[in-house]
Each structure stands twice: as C-alpha cells, then as structure tokens.
Symmetry: C2
Subunit: 726 residues, 2 copies
Amino acid sequence: MKKTYLHALALMLTGLLALPAAAQKQFTLEDLNFGGTNYRNMIPQSRSLKWWGDQLVRLSSDTCWLVNVSNGKEKILFTRDKLNKRTGTSAKPAEVARLNGASFPYPNKPLVLINTADQRLLINFKTGNEEWSQQLCAGAQASEWNQESRAVAYVHNDNLFVTDAMGKTRQITTDGSRNLVYGQSVHRNEFGIEGGLFWNPDGTRLAFYRMDQSMVADYPLIDVPELDDSARVMAAPAPEKYPMAGQTSHLVTVGVYDMITGDTLYLRAGNPTDRYFSNISWSPDGAIIYMMEGNRDQNEVSLVAYDAATGKPITTLYHETHPNYVEPQHPITFLPWDDSKFILWSEKDGYNHLYLMDTMGHELQQITSGNWVVMDLLGFDADREAVIISANAASPIQQNLYRVDVATGTMTRIDEDGKGWHTGMLSANGHLLVDYYQGPDVPRNINIVDTRSGEQQRYFTAPDPWQGYAVPEYRCGSIKAADGYTDLYYRLVLPPDFDETRKYPTVVYVYGGPHAHNVDARWHYASRSWETYMAQRGYVLFILDNRGSENRGRDFEQATFRQLGQVEMQDQMCGVDFLRTLNYVDTTRLGVHGWSFGGFMTISLMTNYPDVFKVGVAGGPVIDWKWYEVMYGERYMDTPQANPEGYARTSLIHKAKDLKGRLQIIIGLNDPTVVPQHAYSFLKACIAAGTQPDFYVYPGQGHNMMGHQSVHLHERITRYFDDYLK
Amino acid sequence: MKKTYLHALALMLTGLLALPAAAQKQFTLEDLNFGGTNYRNMIPQSRSLKWWGDQLVRLSSDTCWLVNVSNGKEKILFTRDKLNKRTGTSAKPAEVARLNGASFPYPNKPLVLINTADQRLLINFKTGNEEWSQQLCAGAQASEWNQESRAVAYVHNDNLFVTDAMGKTRQITTDGSRNLVYGQSVHRNEFGIEGGLFWNPDGTRLAFYRMDQSMVADYPLIDVPELDDSARVMAAPAPEKYPMAGQTSHLVTVGVYDMITGDTLYLRAGNPTDRYFSNISWSPDGAIIYMMEGNRDQNEVSLVAYDAATGKPITTLYHETHPNYVEPQHPITFLPWDDSKFILWSEKDGYNHLYLMDTMGHELQQITSGNWVVMDLLGFDADREAVIISANAASPIQQNLYRVDVATGTMTRIDEDGKGWHTGMLSANGHLLVDYYQGPDVPRNINIVDTRSGEQQRYFTAPDPWQGYAVPEYRCGSIKAADGYTDLYYRLVLPPDFDETRKYPTVVYVYGGPHAHNVDARWHYASRSWETYMAQRGYVLFILDNRGSENRGRDFEQATFRQLGQVEMQDQMCGVDFLRTLNYVDTTRLGVHGWSFGGFMTISLMTNYPDVFKVGVAGGPVIDWKWYEVMYGERYMDTPQANPEGYARTSLIHKAKDLKGRLQIIIGLNDPTVVPQHAYSFLKACIAAGTQPDFYVYPGQGHNMMGHQSVHLHERITRYFDDYLK
C-alpha cells in the first residue's frame, strides 16, 4: 500500500520540539472535557468530507474544496461568499452562515444543498444561481427531506405536514398532541429507532410512526426556570411519558401518506398492544414497506412486508426467536444490482452477521460468519457485487474495513494496516472509501481507499494535539472473565511520572452495560479524557469491559440475562484481582466511578464489596430496574412480574444498608432516562438504614451534563476522590 | 417564698454518685436527637398536668391522680382500666388506649373528656358511667369541639360539617376542594393563625375561614413512593399552592354558621383581594365577631366588629399603622368581669404590651409598659381583676410570670425566683398557677403557685438526665451589636474536657430571623442537643441572637426591614470579632450552620465572608426572597416590584460566585415552606460560576427532618464538619 508522507516533516519537527519533562504542560479540565474552553484545540484534528457522487469534497465554514482522490490535493470548488452573492433570488439573498452542513445530493449536477436560517436551497455552485428553494418550518419537532421529489415531511405543533417541491404544504394529521405523537421516534429509541419519518426512494410516499401514549404514566420531572428568565418566577411541572417495566406501554402504528393521491392509510399490522414495530424500510420500487415486528417479551421478531398502497400485509419474510431475547437493530438493505434480494442482519449464529435473503423469504446464504461481529454496512460496490462493511474480525477491540464478495463471502481487508479503529464513508459507486483511522498511537489519519485494489492514499495526518503535555501512559491487555475462559479487555492509565515502586490510589471506571464498550484500539485505547486528568493527579485508572458489553457476540452479552449487574460484578472483581497483582496499585485505596449503567455498577460494587471499594461516584444510576423503561429494561430483565427474584437480587434498595465507603450519587434533575426516583429511593433506603451516601443534582440537566457543565461535573468527581481516596 | 425540699436528698445522692471523668459516659445522637432511640430518657422529666376547674389533675397513660395543691401529694382519681370497664354503652365499650389526652371541661362535674379510636366520650369517672358520646370523623382535615353545646365542627373531603350534641350532622359547604379551602388555617399560618374553626362561647355559632386559592400558582413538589408501598410504582406530583412574593395571592373570607337557624352567611368585609383577615374572636355573648384586617403592604391593621347575625360590620374599634409593618398576632381577650372591655396587644410603643379597650373603641389605658415584651396572656384572676402574664421584664433572655392589676398596672412577679424560663398554666378561677420552670442549671421544676400570695409549692423536681455523662460547659453573655450599643446575647458551648490553652475548631450556629431566638435562660441556656454532641467531639459552639430576632421589641426586629440578612450578618460578624478575643477559638477553623432563615444566614455568611468561614452547612435555605411566600416575605421585604434593590442585595444567586469554603446545602424534597427551587437555583448559579457547593436531599421530608431522620441528618451535618473543619 502506498502512503503519502506529506506530514512526515511536521511530525519530525514536532518530535524535536518536545519539551523536557520538567517543563511539560499540565492538563486542565478546560483542555480535556468536552464543553471545556480549550477542548477543541486538544482533540485530534479532522477534516469534514462529503461525497459528491464519487467526487470527494472538503468543507470548512467558508470554503469548499474538491479533493483529488489520487494525490489528496485540494482545489477550491466554491466559497461561502459566492453562495451569498448568488443570483436567481428576487430580494436580497438570505445568508448562508456556514458551509459545514452542505451536501451534494446529485452526483452529476453541480448543486449544493444548504440551509439559510429559514430556507433550504439548491445552488448551482458553478454558476452561482439559486436553482430551487423551500421554506423551512420554524420550530419543527422533526423533519425529513427527500432528494428525489424534494418534498419535506415535518412535524410542527405535534402534527405532521408535507411540503412538496413546489412549496405546497398539506397537513396530514390534526389530532397530534403529547399523547398522540406523529412522525417522531417511538419505543424510546430502542431497536435502532432514531426517527419517525421514512420516505420511499423517489419521495412519493411517506411512512411515519404514530404513537398513542395517552395510557402511559407521566413521570413528574420539574423544570426550574433559568436564572436570567425574568418572565418566569416559579418552577413548573415538566412531565415525561415514561412506561416503567411491567407497566402499561404505548401503542405504535405506522401510517403511509401518498403524495400523489393525498391519502393516508395505516398498515394493517393488527393490535399494537405490547408490540414493537421497528426498522422500517422501503422496497427499491417504493411500493412495499418492510418492518420488524417484535412481541413485548422480545423473544421473537418477524420481518413483514406490507403493500404501501393498501396497507395490507403481503408476507412474513423471516421469523426469529430466542429464549432470552432477539433484538433487531438494522433495517434490511436491498442489493443495488438485484431488487429481489436484500441483506438481513441477525445474531442467530451467536454473532451479528449478514444474510442474503430474497423477497420470497428464502435465506439464500450467510454472507459473513465467524466469532466476530459486523459493525456497520457502509454500502456496495454494485458493479462487482460486493458489500463494504466494518467489523471486528481482526481483534475484539478493533474496527476494520472489509470488502465482502456477496456471492462467495470472500472477505478482504481494505484499511491501512489492519490495526486500530477505522470508520468508513463510501462513495456513490462504492469504488472509493474515506477511512477515518485512529490507533492507540494514531491521533487521526484519513486515507482515501480504492475498495477494489485496497490502494491507500494518505489524505490527512492529524498532529498529536497533546504535544508538549505530560501525557500518561495507556496500556491495554486482557484477562479472563469469571467464567475462566472468556477474554476481557482492559485499559490501564498510569501517571505521567509513573514509578512502579510507588503505590498509587486506583480508580476503576466502569460502564458495563449492553450496547457499549470502553476499551478499543482507538487513540490512547479510547481513554476518556477524565482518566488523563486523574492520572496527572497521581491516580492509576483501570477500565475493563465485562461480559454484557457490546461487540462480543450474543452469549457474551446475554450472560447477564435476568440478572443485570451480577455477572458484570463478577468480571469487574476479576479486574480487581488483576489489580492486586500489580505492585503499584494501592488496593487499600480503590475507587470506582461510572455513569448510568455504570452508576448502577458503581453502587452495586460499593455495596456488594464494601471492603474493597473505599470511594465511589455514581452518576445517573439505575437503582431498581422496576423504575426503568419497558423496552430496554424488559429485554434484559423481563418484567418485574415474570422475574421477581431477578429484580430483587439486582435491586440496590436492599443493598443500601451495606454501604460503608464514601459514595457520591450525581444526577440531572431533568433526567428523562434514569428518572430521579432511582436516586431519591436509594437515599430513602440509606436514610432508613442509617448509611450516608453523598448526593448532587444538576438542575435543568438530563441524563448527562451538557456543555460546560461537564467541566463542573468532572471537577466535582475529581474533588471527591481527592477528598477521600488520595 | 416557701419551698419544699422533697427532692433534696435525691439530689445529694446524685451528686455523690457522680462518676470520675474518665468513666463518664459519652453521648450518641440517639441520646441527643429528638427521634433518637434513647432521646426520651435524656430530656428532663416532666409531669402531664391538667386543671379540672381549680383542681389539679395529673395524667399518665394508665392513671389519673388528683394533686393536693397544698402539699403536692397525689391520690388516684381513676384508672384507664375503670374507663374501659365503663357502663352505659350498649355493646362492648371501645378501648380508651391512653389517658394522656384526657381533659376535664366542666369544673363542677366529675366528667373526663377522652377519645377512643372513633368516639369522643364524656365519662363520669366517679360512677364509671359513659354519659355522652359522639362519633369521630375518620380522616377529618380539621376539627373543633365546643364544650358548651358539645357540637363539633370538622372538615372532611374539603367540606365543612357540624355534628351537634345529639349526633345530628349537617353539611355546611359542598364546593370545597384544594382550590376552595374551608375551615382550615389561611394566610399560610402567619398572623398567629393556627386553624380555621371558631366557635362562639356557647357553641351556637361557628365562624370559619373560606380561602379561594384557585388563582394561586402551584409549586410542583414531587412525592416519591414509600419503599414498602407495593401499590405505587411511580413518583407522583404533589403540587402545593404557593403564593410567591409579589405574585397573585389567595382570597380569604369568613363564614358564620348558625346552629339554630341552620343558615350560613359571610362577613361583609369587602373585597378580600390583597387583604389579611386574622385573629378572629367572639364577644362573650356570642353575637359579635372581632377580626384584625390588614392590607397586603402590612403597614396598617384595623380591628373590626361584625354582627354575627347579619354579617354586617358594626364598627372599627382600632386602627394602627407603621411605615414598616404592623403584625397582629393575638386576638382580643375580653375581661371576664366586664363584657364591655377587652385587652388588645400592640407593639405601638416599641414593645409588645397589653392595652385596655372598650367596645366603643376607646383605649382606656396601657396595662403593661417598659422596654420588654409580654410573651403570653395566661388568663385572669377575675375576682381581683388581675391578668396573669409571662414576660421578659427581668431580663431579655428570661420568661417570668407576673400578676398585673388591670386597673393600676401594678405588676408582681409570682414565679419561684425571678430567674430562668417559666411557662404557666392557670386554673379556672386564676388563683392557682402551675409553673414549669427551667433555668441554666435547672432541668425542670414544677411549682404550684398561689397567684395572689405568690406562695410556691414545689410539686416536682426533675433529676438531671445527663448524670454520669461528660457534659460540656454552657456559658452565656452579651456583646454589643454592630450599632455599637444594642446588647446581643450569646451562648458558648465548650468541650467537656475544655482546656483553654488549646485551639478548638469553632462552629457558629445561627438562625437570625424574626419570631425566634436561640439563647435564653432555660436549661443549658437552651442549647440545642447537637451542640452538646459537637462539643463532645472537640468543637466550640457559638450562638448569637442578632438584631431581627424575637422578644427584643419592634426596632430591634425591624432593623432588618427591606434587607433581610444584612444587619443580621453585621451582628454575627460582631460575634466573630468576639470569638477572635478568645484564645481557645481557632479562627482559622470557623464553621457555620443553620436551618431555614439560618440556612439563608449560613450561605450569606459563607459567601459574604469567604475568608472567615471555612465550612458551612445550610439547611432548607432561602436563596432569594422572591421565591418565598407573600405573607412573611412581603412583611419584611415588601414586594420584589417595590424593593428591587433590597431583593437584589440579599439574593444569594449573585453571591454563588464568591463561594470558597466547603458548603453543604440540605433540603427536604417535599419542603412546602422554603421550596426546593431555592436550593436548585443556587446550585444552578454555582454551576454557572464554577463554584462547588455540596448538596443533600431528604425525599419525603418537608422543611425539617422528622422522627429518626433527624438523627441521620445530624450525623450527616457532624460528618461534614469532621471531614473539613476538624
């Protein structure tokens, strides 16, 4: 593979300029925390790239360049100034404030799609002429544009509207409310659901979600007025529809609006009570809707095809069951070269793999296989009938890019070196791929890859943004899980002036839940910046991805079924056993910190192993799964009615009495995900038991602290360990 | 004065048995805190006494004794067992569970008034016959019984009912709700209001409050289910009608129900908007209602008489104004020997004193006067036309008992020694008085006093309940206020093994607001038990009643007008200056703690004097008076619209940035008095300013932590000082 060395000189100079240790700069939380005042300067630089068909375009705020994919050289395609001096508008053109959001929907036309404050525009960037415009709806709750019909669907004041390319707007629904939600995400964003508007390919039909949540209980969140809000004096209720495990859930149906007839119908999917409708997609001809239909138990799922013109079911193409749960997360994807075949994702062989199916419901073949998982389907090289994917086939902690021959399943790695973590962005014809690459020592490389030859063109090499700073040492390795044979990956972060003859206070950072992992082969092994800050202050940090976490296959994840936290704790205690083998770890000064599921893990560990962990900080913790939502909660725990022992065993209410060390619980007062009742109930239990956790709340914040409040939060977390562990 | 020495021997023995210091017992919070498991054993014993006309009765759970007022000797009057074997009931009599709540409404009849779980009974304790019974309303929200007519008025499901002596019940209102409140306290318990049902003397007419609060904003409190409540899963809104300063307030009117006619009318007091109706009383003949009527500005008050038969105003008897505020707190009291004259309380000469008025509205004379205040009007010696009061005429920190000749104002002290703190309970004819007495070294003495001769009969001497414990030293003294001349009283609590050559961390406990004081001549100078606990742990405690606090006259209190906290802080800093003169106070380790107004003071001091106070714990703190309620808030601060500078100057939102030391804020999640918005908004301001207070919340608790939760709270407060100040 060929590489360019444009930045080699810069790298060498950087090396020469390295300061002696004594003069090395110290990090602040403003440097390291997102929301920090210097954060942007401290993360590896990147490039904002877009495909214009098969041509590569780079965007900055004011300039758009065309990138020569053979040598990485750039030439200006247009400037923001040019767009703002555009012709073809009646009055003074409204300002395009920045180019970053631009896209290029038509491969063969020099048209840029970009918004002003109130318009969506297509501008011919060669002539400078505004070719088309569309009014944006101010305050839209959701919106989806189709590039073929140029129609936009949007939700405003809870109702669904469609504006066509000519600017004609039709209101599709009239009874929308907070009880009756149209065109927005449903099932609380589980099952891969991110939105509720689905255009067919040519933009003539719109499928949309309708969710009746009138029967769902309101969790009583409270909105405290902003301090500079002179119009509001008193705090106000901010109720959140929240179906708790085992309780009454919402009813979802799927509507279809036909642009040509103006008619709306609903898919005849039967009684929606206790069912999940997810992963909506369209047939290439735009006539059929495919949907994954699951039961409330989440132990079976069907792929059903519907006639979009009548709403009638056509056929069930696929059915999958598992005694624990089946979790569809990806819509089907049709082969661009054969409208009768599509790719289906399934974990049925134990790992997430791709299967080739036909529209008669026949499984034609398993495309990928092995004890690893497909992470993303980037697209196709249609001419040669290959699919481009990312997967962790090389190592459980890596993500690499592969070309897979659909017919044979032959898989060829096409990233730079088979190491690290690669995120791909495929061109229209699939011949070219932009590869964003981070490795443990690679801040960020961007390569342009020929997906057929595997040839690499280094386009960008980010300099080390931490040059001159006293950087900790990041180590990665694996230990055995509590089952004795499963490999678990860990990260160790050691103070910059690490001296292995010393004893360091050590903090275990933990998440531990499904759909996430902490340790991978990204820059610094994906270390969170707070770990660096803590290492600088003289702590050792240890992070272990226990069983239950993602990317390791079905059984690895499902080991925790009906008993969340139990197996995870066993594995984390294997981590502690490993720490005991490290002479530089002061095991009399062990701390633990985590957020969300990690907050649950933190309190679980503090109360189940009160003599092991001296200090803990638990953010947004689940305390009892009966207060968590139906979709996620029942998948892993079943209902409280069906699994009373599991709920009782994992509940931290009963563990409140066992708290010995210092534990600070931190929540967002407006957390709609893990509602404050969890923390409040744990405090109640502790007060009754005579134990003394500490507590803090961020008013106005949700499940995570946003913006600069994250800096405040991490100062707070740090101070707690400084106070009691150091 | 004659004294008996019944307990002298016991006291001597106690002294002889004192343990050497090394073996002295240590206090726990279970000993010292109300709600603590051993608290009842650690407070000075008392005796539950009641007057049966002019005969003195002692009650325990199972026995009732008659006390010989000449020698204190007791003989059994009846037992609980006797009442439970009573005759005159059809079925098996319901159980009287304990005698403690019994009373003796008819001086000349051997009848005891007592309740079973569901009945109010009059039992002849001589014959053991049940003479009369009345069903109790389960779940009544308020209830008031009249001993003459034996009718009871009560509120159930928000509506008002009256049941007469014969058991006939009539529903008086039908439209009661949480918006329309009948028969309960109004104006948020300010102006001395404690209830909303007022019988005329013979129980034939009932005056009652009606409060329309439909226009008052709801503060969104949240109710977290009890952990053992299996019927409720989710937290629920628990809105509290809360009129904030400057906002729309409720409308109060006064109804009169006539038992004889069955009619209800409302006093024609005019438009109730922004007016306060308080201190309702009846003329002795039960035909006229007297009421104090104040304006929203609280700078004028009128005493108005109404015809109870028509609701029409008869006359305005009295009118008082003050540029700051006038605060009526006591209903008028008619002279028992002259129905045309009554006693009015007023602070108009600068101190709370009694005035003799006639029903034509003439002020006949000032009965009491001097630079001290009348604290309670206990009753009259009608035969000799004297009034019995308690007052702090002897010293600002004492409460003594006096007989005052109404005609001449001649005042005679009638308590044991003119020291300490005496609380009186007067017999029917006013010849005898029970004097409950505490002094700095007197746990509790109970004397029976002849109010004419002043002769004392020692009835009970409580042993020192802390015998054998290592008890701190309590000192009391005065310093000058920041005005240079006003005396302020302080209490110092010193560790049991006090060594004045050492330096002690010192905590200032503060309240500082109106209607309260902390230092007086009660046992241990009224030291709060937590102070003893802290002293035992090696802290010095300092408590100073600043200007603004109670019992010192109008100008002392009103020095804080329109700028709550400012003068109070100046005075507290005089206290700190005094502490600097004490070599054993380590002024580098000064802490501060207070609750409610004291929480406001704590944060005010922490942020205005960030280099003086290192550690603070603020409970239920007011942060900005604009979030406090109309009645109390506007009295001292006027409205935010009328006093924007005052609100801005005293707001702690602007001071959040100045926090340097360690500050823990603690609130009850269900605090309906200082609503959580105060603390949340302060946290918001601190987060924005980058300062780091700590925070804790007691879910389900109100403005104060009740029961055993108080023990948890004080362990928490103590730990905070131990962590950061010790």
